[in-house]
């Protein structure tokens, strides 16, 4: 029973871990003390020993409940035979506590069986064999009391019906004692049962929560893996394809000389290195060497950290200057990242337009780390999709239609991301064989979890994606 293994715990932790059976033990001891005080200090050695044995039963039974409960109940029955009924209350208190334990630990059939058996034995012994029982003694006492009251009221001229010393037939005493005992035992068992189902429900909820946590973590890891590798791999594949086309001499790349090839290979090297680093980080997380939160930086956070502003959520109140720094950090971070991507795209032959604008953002709000991650992840995903699906325009001059147009607008309340590009025919797509991934779906989930919306559509050869992410 690990629940009772309290070594090494202290204070509130101990209390929380005690669990129901532990509390039952405390309750039982208190009930025992009250019963002892309500009767009298045991006047015989036998009564003293019986009381102590009952106390021991209350204390020990939760250790080995399944084997000890029936034994302890038999002990309660035996204690009823102490002459003079000195232990009748403590025995009843012990039995009550034990029946709560029975309800908690046994299934219903076993609990009801034990309760009935004990009631029959207790009352039968009390009525016909001469032991004591709280139910029978109590009934006798109440009837005697009412008889007394009736006699007194008669003496005072009132109308009393119960004649003095009216004998109660044994079978009637047995039956009512049995019913009373059954009611009490049944209540104790039902109480234990109720506590048990509450505990079970809590355990189920804890298990469900645990499972949700695990699945959430796995989902986050899937996100991280996708975010880390998808874009880099797409670009590498594209660059390699372009380089080969250049080497074959039938490509469309304008510069097929060694310098251009070297540049492409440099980019491939940098990209693959980057991807490898990210994969190593993910592996570190999977190995438990790195907390998952460490990977929750935006994709552009790979450079030197721009100071302590990266955790925007941790300090909700900050001076105004710091706020504007945080936002400009964010927009400049975004601009830097988009410039890098544009350069890579241009090298691939995709000449596009991208712009970050800030509108009406004065005073500028500070986006939380979550929002930053979401925006950067979305932009990264958009670039990855451009590589995979956009139509080429590298034979056209740069002042012709751009291959893609990406606009990020930061307002006081929202970040709006919009992108348009012409979709290539399936035949001309360079990254062949890659199935439609689920990157966009994951991005949509992230955006939706922040209360925003993401819409994407392909119509008449044009791919449009628009996202609206609230800052707060």
């Amino acid at each position: 029973m690990s629940r009772f293994d309290l070594r090494g715990l202290r204070g509130a932790d101990r209390l929380r871990r005690i669990g129901f059976v532990g509390w039952l033990r405390v309750f039982g001891v208190m009930l025992w003390v009250v019963s002892l005080l309500a009767t009298r200090v045991p006047d015989s050695t036998a009564a003293l020993f019986a009381d102590l044995a009952l106390l021991a039963a209350i204390v020990v039974v939760p250790r080995l409940p399944r084997t000890l409960v029936p034994v302890a109940l038999a002990g309660c029955l035996a204690a009823d035979f102490i002459p003079g009924g000195a232990t009748v209350l403590t025995a009843a208190a012990t039995a009550f506590t034990l029946f709560i334990a029975v309800g908690y630990l046994y299934d219903i059939a076993a609990g009801v069986g034990l309760g009935c058996l004990y009631a029959v034995a207790e009352v039968t012994c009390a009525v016909w064999i001469g032991s004591s029982s709280v139910a029978v003694n109590g009934l006798r006492g109440v009837i005697a009391g009412m008889t007394d009251a009736a006699r007194r009221s008669m003496e005072h001229g009132g109308i009393g019906a119960l004649s003095v010393g009216a004998p109660v037939p044994a079978w009637m005493l047995w039956l009512s004692g049995l019913l009373l005992s059954l009611i009490c035992n049944g209540f104790a068992i039902a109480f234990g049962r109720a506590a048990r189902s509450g505990t079970d429900a809590r355990d189920r909820a804890a298990r469900a929560q645990h499972m949700v946590d695990r699945l959430t973590r796995e989902q986050q890891l899937a996100h991280v893996i996708h975010d880390s590798v998808a874009n880099d791999m797409s670009v590498i594949a594209m660059l390699a394809w372009r380089a080969k086309a250049g080497l074959d001499g039938n490509g469309t790349m304008s510069s097929t000389d060694g310098a251009g090839l070297g540049e492409t290979l440099d980019l491939i090297y940098a990209r693959s290195h980057h991807a490898l680093d990210r994969v190593h980080e993910v592996i570190d997380v999977l190995d438990g060497r790195l907390p998952l939160a460490a990977l929750e930086h935006g994709p552009a956070d790979d450079g030197p950290d721009t100071g302590g502003d990266s955790d925007g959520t941790a300090k909700p109140i900050r001076p105004a200057t710091s706020v504007s720094t945080a936002t400009s950090d964010f927009t400049s971070q975004l601009e830097r990242y988009m410039e890098d991507q544009d350069r890579a795209m241009a090298m691939l032959g995709l000449h596009g337009v991208s712009r970050v604008t800030t509108v009406d953002a004065d005073p500028e709000p500070s986006p939380t780390q979550t929002v930053r991650c979401a925006v950067l992840g979305l932009v990264e995903e958009i670039y990855a999709n451009i590589v995979r699906h956009a139509a080429w325009n590298d034979d056209a001059a740069t002042d012709a239609d751009p291959a893609y147009s990406l606009f990020v607008t930061v307002t006081a309340t929202n970040v709006h991301v919009a992108e348009v590009n012409a979709v290539a025919d399936a035949a001309s797509a360079a990254v062949l064989g890659t199935r439609h991934g689920n990157g966009l779906r994951m991005q949509r989930e992230v955006v939706a979890s922040l209360g925003g919306a993401l819409n994407a559509a392909a119509q008449d050869g044009t791919w449009t994606i628009a996202a609206d992410i609230p800052l707060a």
């Binding site: 019906a161 109660v168 009512s176 039902a190 509450g198 949700v212 989902q219 991934g437 992230v446």
Partner: protein, 206 residues
């Protein structure tokens, strides 16, 4: 901390107070009393164990305090405080019935069960009166015994009926139009995440 959790979860999941027509497990005593008053005449919906027992406990504490005050002030000569408390108690009969019915709903029991302790109480009063009025001592003894049993049953049931834990199936007693009942927010989220995971592994490329 919460940045780690990217799963979409209903905003009201754990942090906020459940809607007024939802059970509120782990409610505090003051909130329980506030709900008790605000829902005084609402016989639909459910009430958590904490909701019911905080109100009951506070009511019993009021009765006990009034009796104590009476004893300290009037020394058994008068019972002004107790009278006030019982007057308030009579006013609260309908709200208490409503709360009991909602608690029974929370256990997935019909609200009619609330009548069982009431009937038992009336029955043992009646049996005791009959036993005192009858002229035959044998009948009177039987009456007293039966009355005692009925009283024990009443005591046990008026406690026991309301002690069982919440059963999500009790949502059937909610007002119609609340189909989004939280039959375990956790379970729903789990199902969502599981579906997502399944989808992810099914078409996991790149």
């Amino acid at each position: 901390m919460n940045d780690d959790i990217r799963v979409q979860r209903p905003a009201t999941a754990a942090t906020e107070e459940p809607a007024l027509d939802r059970p509120y497990p782990g409610i505090g005593p003051l909130q329980a009393v506030r709900r008790f008053i605000r829902k005084a005449f609402v016989f639909s919906g459910r009430a958590s164990r904490a909701e019911y027992w905080w109100v009951t406990l506070i009511g019993l504490a009021c009765v006990a305090c009034a009796a104590l005050l009476d004893y300290m002030v009037f020394h058994d000569d008068d019972s002004v405080f107790s009278s006030i408390v019982s007057f308030v108690g009579y006013l609260a009969i309908v709200p208490v019935l409503a709360l009991s019915v909602r608690r029974l709903h929370d256990e997935n029991l019909d609200g009619g069960w609330v009548l069982v302790p009431i009937v038992l109480q009336i029955a043992y009063f009646g049996v005791f009166s009959a036993a005192m009025a009858t002229g035959d001592s044998h009948d009177a003894t039987i009456g007293v015994l039966i009355g005692l049993l009925l009283m024990a049953l009443f005591v046990v049931l008026s406690f026991g009926l309301y002690m069982f834990p919440s059963n999500p199936k009790g949502a059937r007693f909610d007002k119609p139009g609340d189909e989004t009942a939280e039959i375990g927010d956790n379970a729903a989220v789990t199902a969502d995440v599981a579906a997502d995971m399944a989808g992810m592994t099914a078409d996991s490329q790149v």
